[in-house]
């Protein structure tokens, strides 16, 4: 429970963070909320040579609507996203998801940029980003979500690249996120999100594979007029989740179907 020794530097701007990352090289890590990174370091599963702390970068936590899109700064904490009036008005699904992440301590510290960059398929935001075709903006470029989540914990981010904001479409129609778990603060065993948008449905799944999943087969079935229960049967099409101590692969696939049905039915 004691991390290996590491260097620490605090950046006051994105430029400085990038400079520091360049200086420390491949083994350096960006420290935002730290709620995934620090536990891994304490178990010595992650032993970065240096941490570049971006918590002092001003303005990186801004939330605003601009050009018909919702811009969430990478440093925005879960609690801020949940409490944000703009988010509640423009993308209430995201506010709902933010309130379901971890517990109070996690929500007070953890950031959306951290979750996205960590790319854990059990994370909740990646599902929403993927299903809504969000953009992940870095100091270098804009990466569409569908190109961002490549594999488990794997993204196209370079060593000297910092996520600066996530840009979501505006969607204030019926929506629901159901996060099925053993304990209230646990990661999802499976999560299912439904969002009515532009006359159709967007359906996303959490923790049913190495990356978040957009359930296009369900979306298409709904588009063709299938009832939620029928459409949801397609939620497990093509899924090959791995088993863990919380659930078997068969059960995860079953949950994908049940939760998808419920999310569509309960979307309001």
């Amino acid at each position: 429970m004691i991390p290996a020794a590491f260097e620490y530097a605090r950046a006051s701007s994105v430029e400085e963070a990038v400079k520091l990352l360049t200086k420390y090289g491949e083994d350096a890590k960006v420290l935002a909320g730290g709620h995934s990174l620090i536990p891994l370091m304490r178990l010595r599963l992650s032993q970065p040579s240096a941490l570049v702390d971006i918590n002092g970068v001003k303005g990186l936590d801004q939330i605003k609507e601009s050009g018909g899109k919702l811009h969430i700064g990478a440093l925005a904490r879960h609690v801020t996203i949940h409490d944000s009036k703009v988010v509640k008005d423009k993308l209430p699904l995201l506010a709902e998801v933010a309130s379901e992440v971890g517990d109070n301590q996690v929500r007070n510290m953890g950031t959306i940029g951290g979750v996205i960059a960590h790319a854990d398929a059990a994370g909740d935001y990646p599902t929403i980003a993927l299903m809504l075709d969000a953009d992940i903006v870095t100091n270098k470029r804009t990466i569409p979500a569908k190109d961002f989540f490549q594999d488990i914990f794997t993204t196209p981010l370079a060593a000297d690249e910092v996520v600066t904001e996530i840009v979501f479409p505006v969607a204030d129609g019926p929506h629901k996120y159901i996060k099925f778990r053993r304990r209230l603060f646990d990661w999802a065993i499976v999560g299912a999100a439904a969002q009515k948008m532009n006359g159709g449905w967007r359906i996303g799944l959490t923790n049913v594979g190495p990356t978040p999943v957009r359930a296009k087969a369900v979306e298409d079935a709904l588009h063709k007029g299938a009832k939620p229960e029928e459409a949801a049967q397609h939620a497990s099409d093509g899924l090959n989740p791995s088993g863990d101590l919380r659930a078997s692969p068969e059960y995860k696939k079953h949950l994908a179907r049940v939760l998808t049905k419920r999310a569509i039915e309960q979307a309001g």
Partner: protein, 795 residues
């Protein structure tokens, strides 16, 4: 007779303001001049041979002062008897491998120490430990009970001929032949008790300092049992007990896992001696999850015979227990499940047998309830299985077979005498509170719409307050589990009471003071309760476990107070110029019978006690009492759990939880409620969530963090409705019974019975723990094809 004021009062725990504002004195809060830190290098394998141990790189690491291996300790820590193994109720140990605190050639569980690194800082010690290079040759590991029982299976230790740790038959099978012959129905079930991680909030910490000139060792550690630790460690280190002081002030929970000694309890003082510096070891949470002595880990094969009308006839119960890599010091206590499996009921005959096996896992040892939750689970599950078989209401089946109020004291099938009880009264009260008849109607209505509502009862009983000499003397190998207390009344009237029990969350500083306040007629503020320092108080203290602090320790306090009052009467008689037999003590004052206007307060008597006294009377006002209880105490009650199972996902929602418990006279209702809440939480956690899971191939613990090991939190707790009946125990002066373990003992069966009841329309009779959503979903899936004629299929 003093008018009772404090006993029975619902008052806040007086130790809490200090503990909950961060002012506790836990071992990790303490330091010594020149303190250095120990990290332990542990085997990552369940079973392996050490080919070589490279310590040179670690020795050169920054801040590292020493790296010690078994070879370094051999002259400091004595022979194979270092970890004693008490006979408890399984007197014959077959495979009982000697245990040394640090591995020499063979490691037999993941986490077994192979080296220690001592450095100036804790971080440097951890870094140094990473540099110790151990070359292992892995060996086949035996991880499961049934595998360990097979003749050709790997052995947990290379030099064992088999893995059988003990095999004890308490009553042979022939003794139940007649009962089974006369039976109309026989039900059988295999009941599993998964391994559990005890998870006290404070992990273990050990600190030691050796004075080379006085040859005195002082140890500070997080234990439930300071005097026993002194006994064991002094023996292993070749010191007299007078030279070893063990201090265990505030301890953040134990749940049984801090009763027995641990390797670090020897390695830390030995290192302090070798190095000549004060040494501290602070266990990490990962180490605690891996290496704290685990709970449960048992399989029960049970058969029950009964008549058509529900009259119980016979039970046959085999316990198979996973002892782990070494038999726990008090591990065999868990066999008491075999003696208690009959529960609250009449039986013509019961046969039982306990077989324990060695495996390549951490040792199992008593964990909150230790054997009695298992017994309750067996008895209460079998009652419900029988009720289904007989198509009888589980309440009526219980009522028919209960030991009746007028039959106490009642000697049960294994010769244990249950001191008191009124099982029907507690059950009826619980049924009324929960609204049983309404619930059954609601359940029947809901079933028409496929709603899976279930009601589960657990009419539990418990043996606790360890314990009477006749039973515990042989069980520990000679030490009778009595309890001691010393009362000192100082000249100005302040009172110090030293107790042999230990407070690690039970609230004893409050309840013990309540007892003493009434006995001495003094305000609680004038009474200091001290525990956990072997240099203070009586010669030996027996520690806290088995719900004994009140029912045994409380009585020792009362009796030592009474001894002081008796002496006070002599002094008062002298001061009041009266005969001793005419002096009465009431509300803190001594006066002559019939003349209360002229009195002497206890404080005045205390001052006089240190002054000039009549010839033949010694100065001082203090007394020691040891209390050896004539029997165990026998609390009981009824817990009722109401659940709804989501038929689509298998998720369990606890809708109601009612507990009516009887622990005899109550010293502090608030503390009783707190103990029950915590115990019920742990039982619900076992029923629904918690399980230590090991990898089949590597033998490594998979559930090694709280991410995987689903310890329950406040969010998952249902609201609990508590109530009580009061049946005073005839076993002790206060009429009290223990309540620390009751919640854990009662609750798993209530929850699982409720789930089984909910799933009964599908033909599901039994579910294993933890009843996870995944597990229940699979059972529902498997049951569904037959569900249309489920009832028919069962008959």
């Amino acid at each position: 007779m003093a008018v009772s004021q404090m006993v029975g009062a619902k008052i806040h725990r007086r130790e809490d303001p200090r503990l909950i504002t961060g002012h506790g004195r836990y071992t990790d809060d303490l330091t010594r001049p020149g303190l250095v830190h120990m990290a332990v290098v542990r085997s990552p394998h369940a079973h392996a041979q050490i080919r070589s141990l490279g310590v040179e790189a670690a020795k050169k690491a920054p801040g590292v002062l020493a790296v010690y291996t078994a070879a370094d300790f051999k002259d400091v820590i004595g022979g194979p008897a270092t970890f004693p193994v008490a006979p408890v109720f399984a007197p014959i140990k077959l495979a009982n491998p000697p245990r040394y605190p640090i591995a020499k050639e063979e490691v037999c569980y993941q986490g077994e120490p192979v080296a220690v690194v001592i450095a100036e800082s804790r971080a440097q010690a951890a870094d140094g430990a990473d540099l110790v290079d151990v070359d292992y040759e892995t060996l086949p590991a035996v991880m499961e009970i049934e595998a360990a029982l097979k003749a050709g299976s790997p052995k947990a230790h290379l030099d064992q001929k088999d893995n059988i740790a003990w095999d004890v038959t308490y009553v042979p099978w022939e003794a139940t032949d007649e009962a089974f012959k006369g039976a109309d129905v026989v039900v059988k079930e295999r009941i599993l008790q998964q391994r559990l991680s005890p998870n006290p909030m404070e992990s273990r910490v050990v600190m030691a300092e050796f004075d080379a000139y006085d040859k005195r060792m002082t140890m500070w550690l997080s234990t439930q049992n300071p005097h026993w630790i002194r006994l064991f460690v002094a023996g292993a280190l070749g010191m007299g007990e007078h030279s070893l002081r063990v201090i265990s002030h505030d301890v953040g929970g134990g749940f049984g896992s801090k009763i027995s000694p641990y390797p670090e309890d020897y390695l830390v003082p030995a290192s302090a001696k070798l190095l000549g510096r004060a040494v501290k070891y602070t266990e990490t949470r990962t180490e605690a999850m891996q290496n704290a002595y685990a709970g449960r880990g048992q399989i029960f094969d049970v058969e029950v015979a009964a008549k058509k009308d529900g009259t119980l006839l016979g039970m046959r119960c085999t316990q198979m227990l996973d002892a782990g890599a070494y038999i726990g010091t008090f591990g065999a206590f868990q066999t008491c499940a075999c003696l208690m499996a009959g529960g609250a009921y009449h039986w013509q005959a019961i046969s039982s047998r306990s077989v324990a096996v060695l495996t390549n896992k951490i040792t199992t040892d008593p964990y909150r309830g230790a054997g009695r939750p298992e017994a309750t689970h067996v008895a209460e599950r079998m009652m419900d299985l029988l009720a289904v078989e007989l198509d009888m209401d589980p309440v009526e089946l219980r009522r028919k077979n209960f030991i009746k109020k007028e039959e106490f004291p009642f000697t049960q099938n294994f010769g244990l005498t249950i001191d008191s009880g009124d099982y029907e009264k507690a059950m009826d009260k619980a049924l009324k509170i929960v609204g049983y008849d309404d619930l059954r109607r609601k359940q029947a209505e809901g079933r028409k719409h496929g709603k899976l509502l279930g009601i589960g009862l657990s009419t539990w009983i418990e043996l606790c307050g360890l314990g009477p000499g006749a039973a515990t003397g042989p069980a520990t190998g000679g030490v009778v589990l009595s309890e001691s207390a010393q009362v000192k009344i100082h000249p100005a009237g302040g009172v110090s009471i030293y107790v042999g029990t230990h407070n690690h969350g039970q609230g004893n500083d409050t309840t013990h003071a309540q007892i003493a306040a009434d006995a001495l007629g003094l305000p609680m503020e004038q009474i200091d309760i001290r525990h956990g320092d072997t240099n203070e108080g009586p010669g030996f203290g027996y520690g806290t476990y088995g719900s004994r602090s009140l029912a045994v320790g409380g009585i020792a306090i009362l009796r030592s107070c009474n001894k002081v009052i008796d002496k006070g009467k002599k002094i008062a008689a002298h001061l009041l110029e009266a005969a001793e037999e005419d002096v009465v003590f009431d509300q803190g004052k001594f006066h002559v019978k019939g003349a209360p206007e002229k009195s002497k307060a206890l404080g005045e008597i205390a001052f006089a006690a240190y002054g000039q006294l009549p010839e033949g009377m010694e100065q001082g006002l203090e007394a020691v009492a040891y209390f050896e209880p004539p029997n165990f105490v026998w609390p009981f009650g009824t817990h009722i759990c109401v659940v709804e199972v989501d038929s689509e996902t298998g998720a369990v929602d606890i809708q109601k939880y009612v507990a009516v418990d009887d622990c005899g006279n109550v010293i502090n209702p608030m503390i009783v409620a707190g103990q029950l809440h915590g115990g019920i939480a742990q039982g619900i956690a076992q029923a629904l969530f918690e399980e230590m899971v090991y990898d089949d191939e590597t033998g490594r613990l998979r559930s090694a963090t709280f991410l995987e090991y689903a310890m329950l939190t406040a969010n998952e707790m249902p609201a609990i409705q508590l109530d009580s009946t009061v049946t005073p125990s005839p076993t002790n002066d206060l009429g009290v019974k223990g309540i620390g373990e009751a919640g854990t003992i009662a609750s798993t069966a209530a929850v699982i019975n409720a789930i089984c009841d909910a799933l009964s329309p599908l033909g599901i009779k039994h579910v294993d723990m933890p009843a996870t959503a995944d597990r229940l979903w699979k059972q529902i899936q498997n049951a569904r094809p037959a569900s249309s004629n489920g009832k028919e299929a069962r008959k």
